[in-house]
Each structure stands twice: as structure tokens, then as C-alpha cells.
Subunit: 145 residues, 2 copies
């Protein structure tokens, strides 16, 4: 019977996303699956193209916003006990980068939050729909409240 | 830790949906969850409004198409060992009925197939997106190939 061996968790750092992170932990435990984590930085201009689009969480950066992103991502990955090879801090368009990384790591499923709000706050919801439309693996959406 | 106790599986009877059904079985086993099943009939005209929109799988019907739908649904529910109270053969607009039943049975998650094709074959994919946009619980999509 086909199961899930590799889950890619897509996170922002909103307050509501704690339920998403909790559910990721449930999934990992129930499926005994590997967990990769991706966070896409799209709110700050890319400060220096020498970093590339995948950002090394341990590389020292001058930009204080980027440094803050690194710090938050590191904390989350520590909390979830994610191996360095499964940590994806990426700069770009969220849906595009999530789809690319899902393919690259051969994830069976993308776990992503979904917001029912409208306007700007709905962006994360749109990301989920966009990922679903184009990614080749399964997509699990967790409603964020 | 928050888990899943009640899964609503939305099925059509396409050949590809066997992978969806298999995954539903994996989910039920891993989460020790209750499974409800819904199939929405939208391709045939409602033959007699006295049936209502929820169709009793055991009620005798004159319409041969509806009788065939009942038969297929019964077989699936037998295969999945679904209690009669958790069997939902419904006539209407798929996304709308799935959302209604998910709310009615207080499902934690809707499990639904997603097709990446275009045109008519993409209808099921659109249903998944539509359910995601409006349902209050989580949605898991399984890519149908």
C-alpha cells in the first residue's frame, strides 16, 4: 500500500502557522516520514545576488532583514529537528520555489497552510492553490485560523 | 497534539481514483480515523425530486443510470467497510455538496483527487480547488495519474 515517505512543509512565520507546524509533527510521527522544510522570502529585496536563491542559513549576511529570516528559520528547524540538508530557505516567488524544491527533493506531499481571508492576508491561500495546480506530488492544506 | 479523527473521502469512479482510495485506506489506518465517503452525481438529471438530494443507496429507483450509481457506490463502500451512516450518495454540484457534507459530519479533513489535465478532464481538479476555497476543515489532495 502506497504511503508517504517524504513531506515538504512550507511555512511562513505567522502566528496561525503553529497549527500547521503541529500537524506536520503529527504527520511525521504517523507516517514515519522524512520532513523537509521550506520558507520562501519574498517580502525583502534580494540584497546580494552572490547568495543565489537558496540561502545558506549559516552564511553570515550583512542585511539585517535577511539575518532575521535566517535566525527565525534556524529556530524553526531546530524545533522540528530538521537536518541541514532538508532545510530550504529560499528567495523568490513562493509557489514557484515550493514547486521547484518539492520536485528537487522528490517529496511525496507538500504540506501548506491555507487562509480563508481576503485581500493581502489571502496570499498564503493563493500560494496553496497555485502549488496544487502545478506540483506533481500530493498537496495537503491545513486551514489556518 | 492535534490529529485527525474523521476523514471525508470524495470520490468519482475514474480509473485513476484507485490511488486516492488506497491513500484513504492508509490515512484511516495511520490516524485510526473514521472514514465517511461522498460521491456527488452531477452527470445525470435528477430523475425524481422525491428522492431529495441525498440518495438512499438501498432505495429502489426506476432510473437505470441512478441505479448504476447506487450499485457502484455500494460496492465502493463495501470495499472500504463504510457504515451506512457514513455513506453519502448525493445529487448536486460536487464542490457545494462536498462542503455541505463536510460541515454536516464535522469532518477534520476532506480527501479529494486532483487532476492536472485541462478541459473537461480537469473538472475534478477544479472541484478540489473549489472545496479548498470554501470548506472550513483541512483539505488533502491526491494527484491522480
Amino acid at each position: 500500500m502506497q504511503s508517504y515517505e517524504h513531506i515538504l512543509l512550507a511555512v511562513d512565520y505567522s502566528q496561525e502557522s503553529s497549527s500547521l507546524i503541529e500537524k506536520a509533527q503529527v504527520m511525521v510521527e504517523r507516517f514515519q516520514a522524512k520532513l523537509s522544510v521550506i520558507h520562501v522570502i519574498d517580502a525583502i529585496p534580494m540584497p546580494d545576488t552572490s547568495y543565489g536563491t537558496v540561502i545558506d542559513v549559516n552564511q553570515e549576511v550583512d542585511d539585517p532583514l535577511l539575518a532575521a529570516e535566517q535566525m527565525k528559520f534556524k529556530e524553526l528547524c531546530q524545533q522540528l529537528q530538521i537536518n541541514p540538508a532538508e532545510q530550504w530557505l529560499v528567495w523568490g516567488i513562493p509557489a514557484t520555489e515550493i514547486i521547484n524544491v518539492a520536485k528537487h527533493v522528490q517529496a511525496d506531499v507538500v504540506l501548506i497552510g491555507y487562509r480563508h481571508h481576503h485581500g493581502l492576508a489571502a496570499l498564503f491561500g493563493n500560494n496553496a492553490a497555485e502549488v496544487m495546480r502545478h506540483v506533481q506530488c500530493d498537496v495537503w492544506t491545513v486551514t489556518l485560523r
